[in-house]
Symmetry: C2
Subunit: 234 residues, 2 copies
DNA sequence: CGTCCAGTTGATGTAAATCAAACCCAGTGG
DNA sequence: CCACTGGGTTTGATTTACATCAACTGGACG
């Protein structure tokens, strides 16, 4: 079912867990135990992790690379509900089946955990349950902000929001440099725009001096306050 | 803080709970106890139940009437994240503060429950926790479908989706009759459209014979399959 | 009987979509 | 080493769905 290689490798999972960018959060939640329970999955670009409607058997956490989750319409129209970067959990919100399809944006590594084990943990520890509930609530809050964005914001505002969000999440030494692993079309499908509009809007932001681009996938924020104002629709 | 009257009235809450349209669901979840813990709040049209950023002190359940939850941009642009009808829970997803503002669409009655009590319940009973988690997950799934709608669907498709969703939720004897308590502007702010576009699109659906209207707030589905096809973007 | 507000319909404007054509690399292979 | 691909990106011309601006309707209510 998985269009990617995976192997059970407790040792290497622990190694990966040690490289987790924010281990404190995990420990706080009492999820440290997880590190001994996961198995590693290697994904190549565009590989499918799971499909909308699949039984939800696993939770996943991104170790490296990026994953997108999307929904499709019959005629191919696509919406990318979210991007997941290193450290993010995927599939926490699934009840019995997944409501979205998850695919690798680029070559990526994820760890997967048996849902059964997690659910057993939840039954015994309300603390773990609260952690999961917290995650889902945070995602819901995000989703609602994105609904406002999709329903009421201009292309410029959408792109500004997106850039700041990605910048905030992908921890880099330089706060103002932004790595964009996804394509223009992915960004468009996330923001409700076309590839062309995304390009043109990037061009506008550049010529307005708000950002600069070393390459299409490596940007820098030049005027953060102005960008933040745009992102809030001011 | 509440711009509405409320009173502690255990007796009348039980009465209201008895009138709950789907009592089985409540009992299943072990939340029957709630009926003895809530207090009734009477809301007049447009009254505010809570504001975005307010500390989340209560959960609410709609008994009669309708409530909308919305997010605002600095310049007044508004998005209505959802409508809540009789039987729906409000505020379950809040962590510490509310992420949206909740207002009455029309004169409405809601019951409110102290969050502290519910949270205590959750700590003792994983079952109640799972019920809440399930609610939030369902809302997240809804939110994602709406993101697809807002990002990728035409006005006609959005309205068709909306009508079918409302029809499915507001239980009426007649499956095909739809009560719309909210204004055209509310609908527009929910679907990312203007009042005028909502009107025009209703007119299109009418002249295509998919729906008919006794009054602006009382519609009937005439061709459900066609409407459903539209709603799925076919 | 006027006032008000939600709803509707019409005329016009515009942001973004669509259609189309380069362009720019990173591979690949002669 | 250079030509050749092919996928992603960018820029240009045109179209369009929806927004905006504006006027009119019709029921509710004092």
């Amino acid at each position: 079912m998985l269009s990617a290689s995976h192997r059970d490798a407790k040792g290497s999972v622990s190694a990966l867990a040690a490289a987790d960018p924010n281990p404190t959060q995990v420990d706080e939640s009492g999820l440290g135990i997880l590190d001994t329970l996961g198995s590693v999955v290697l994904l190549t670009r565009d590989a499918t992790l799971f499909r909308e409607g699949d039984a939800a058997e696993f939770y996943y956490k991104v170790v490296s690379g990026a994953v997108r989750s999307c929904k499709l319409l019959a005629d191919g129209r696509r919406h990318i509900t979210d991007f997941f970067l290193a450290g993010d959990f995927i599939g926490v919100e699934a009840l019995n089946t997944h409501g979205t399809t998850a695919e690798a944006v680029n070559d990526a590594t994820v760890v997967r955990y048996e849902r059964g084990m997690i659910d057993a943990l939840v039954s015994r520890s309300p603390r773990v349950g609260r952690f999961l509930l917290g995650r889902v609530c945070a995602e819901l809050s995000e989703a609602r902000s994105r609904m406002l964005l999709l329903g009421r914001m201009s292309a410029r505002e959408r792109l500004a929001s997106f850039l700041l969000r990605i910048a905030a999440r992908s921890r880099r030494d330089d706060r103002d440099s932004i790595a964009l692993p996804m394509t223009r079309s992915d960004i468009g499908d996330h923001l409700g725009l076309t590839t062309e509009t995304v390009c043109r809007t990037f061009a506008e932001l550049k010529s307005a001096g708000l950002i600069e681009a070393r390459s299409p996938h490596d940007l820098r924020v030049l005027k953060r306050p102005a960008l933040a104002a745009l992102a809030q629709g001011i």
